[in-house]
């Protein structure tokens, strides 16, 4: 589904990614670990088409390569940036994105989606009035409005309260069960372990560890993760 070949991204003298290889099969759920600045966000941004690689190749879609535009339509990207217009209401935000994502949804459908992320009755309020956690919930609804087949998640649990975390976990588990492909950067190892079926550690811009969840217990994984982090 996603093929990353010899990917590198430099910012002047600093290299965020170097020679990174990764193949994500359809329906796989990958959790990306690694300390701050290891290159997780850069990888996700390049996958999402938000950032251009310095060298290397990224192929999205099987069996045929999707055009960048079609790839964008197949992907949903959720980060700690909400990408919501603060001066528009929740409903107006969703209406705007639905139209541009070519999702034919009536207002009732959109209101229903807003209710599903736990914001029922607040769809006509400007997003500016929302708390950080509420905005993040709405961001979930926004990012996956078009029911994408690839979900890119960059620390998506940031700022969510218990209810929001619960909802997002449920949503991700459900999407995974429906055969969606997920790539998620996360620092909370137990949570990542729980959701994913493949665990990848990125250190200094390369995939330093890549294991299937079925092959390791959480404790074993943590030990190997620590070993990789210390070795470098």
């Amino acid at each position: 589904m996603i093929e990353v070949h010899a990917l590198a991204k430099y910012f002047g003298r600093f290299s965020a990614l170097r020679d990174l290889h990764l193949t994500v099969r359809e329906g796989e759920f990958i959790a990306l670990f690694g300390r701050n600045g290891a290159g997780k966000t850069t990888l996700l941004r390049i996958l999402a088409g938000l950032s251009r690689p310095s060298s290397g190749e990224v192929r999205i879609g099987t069996p045929h390569n999707l055009t960048p535009r079609a790839a964008r339509g197949a992907m949903g990207y959720l980060s700690h940036n909400t990408a919501l217009y603060a001066d528009l209401t929740a409903l107006e935000n969703l209406r705007f994105f639905a139209r541009l994502m070519d999702v034919h949804a009536r207002d009732a459908d959109l209101i229903e989606r807003i209710a599903r992320v736990g914001l029922s009755g607040r769809e006509s309020e400007p997003v500016r009035n929302y708390s950080r956690g509420m905005q993040q919930r709405l961001a979930i609804a926004r990012a996956f409005l078009h029911d994408p087949s690839i979900l890119l998640l960059d620390e998506p649990f940031t700022g969510l309260d218990q209810h929001g975390t619960h909802f997002l976990k449920g949503y991700l588990t459900d999407s995974h069960a429906r055969g969606k492909t997920c790539v998620m950067a996360i620092h909370d190892a137990p949570l990542g372990y729980e959701l994913a079926d493949r665990l990848v550690v990125i250190e200094k811009g390369v995939a330093a560890l890549d294991v299937r969840k079925s092959d390791v217990t959480l404790e074993q994984f943590m030990d190997r993760y620590k070993a990789v982090a210390e070795e470098r």
């Binding site: 964008r72 990408a83 217009y85 528009l88 139209r99 541009l100």
Partner: protein, 223 residues
């Protein structure tokens, strides 16, 4: 595609109507420029009518630059640009939507600034209005076609708002020269046959830079 352009255009308009952030600033600044020119041109008070076209377009260009600066600065809040960039639409569509919205803001501002200038410089116009509307429209479109592209470039720099006028004014000089000339023909020389040349140059400029900007926009749009 038109529906997509319309959606982006409408979104910008809706936000602006709600907050009036850009419009207020643009209007006020435009009027401030008029007042300043009033003092600067004190010595030629008797023949001030000859200076009005230039004064008007300086006011339009300055206030328009404020608007163009806000165009992408607003998208940076909450990283909205990220959301736009992820949309399955051509980036040129984003360009057209936002450029048209900026054009409308500028035209609204220009109308108000123009009314103020009538009062400040003691002018009367009536039959000239359709011609003026045409010149303002084409001139503004020329300004925003390339302005939207350069605004997207300048938000990528360290200097952001400061850089835009520096790189924009040399580029839009042909539009300014011809817009001033056309306005001067309407207000002062009243030889409408000569209006064709400046209008043609401005239209050519708009078409050329509209095409270039549409094609190059995807390179400068980065979050």
């Amino acid at each position: 595609m038109l529906a997509m352009i319309w959606a982006i255009f409408r979104k910008d308009l809706l936000i602006e109507l709600r907050t009036k952030d850009s419009l207020n600033a643009m209007l006020f600044f435009g009027i401030v420029v008029l007042v300043i020119f009033n003092f600067a041109l004190e010595s030629i008070r008797e023949s001030i009518r000859a200076a009005v076209p230039g004064v008007l377009w300086v006011a339009f260009a300055f206030s328009g630059t404020l608007g163009l600066n806000r165009m992408f600065a607003a998208e940076k809040e909450n990283s909205c640009l990220q959301g736009l960039l992820m949309l399955p639409v051509d980036r040129g569509v984003i360009y057209l939507g936002k450029m048209l919205a900026a054009t409308v803001f500028m035209l609204v501002t220009e109308a108000v600034i123009f009314i103020f200038s009538l009062v400040f410089f003691n002018l009367t116009v009536w039959n000239e209005i359709p011609y003026l509307v045409l010149v303002f429209f084409i001139g503004t479109l020329g300004f925003t076609t390339v302005g939207a592209l350069l605004s997207a470039i300048s938000v990528n720099t360290k200097m952001r708002e400061v850089l835009l006028p520096l790189i924009l004014f040399p580029v839009i000089l042909p539009v300014l020269v011809n817009a001033v000339e056309a306005t001067n023909i309407i207000l002062n020389t009243v030889d409408y046959r000569t209006l064709k040349l400046p209008l043609t140059i401005m239209s050519v400029f708009t078409i050329i830079f509209g095409t270039i900007s549409y094609l190059l926009f995807e390179y400068v749009l980065e979050d």
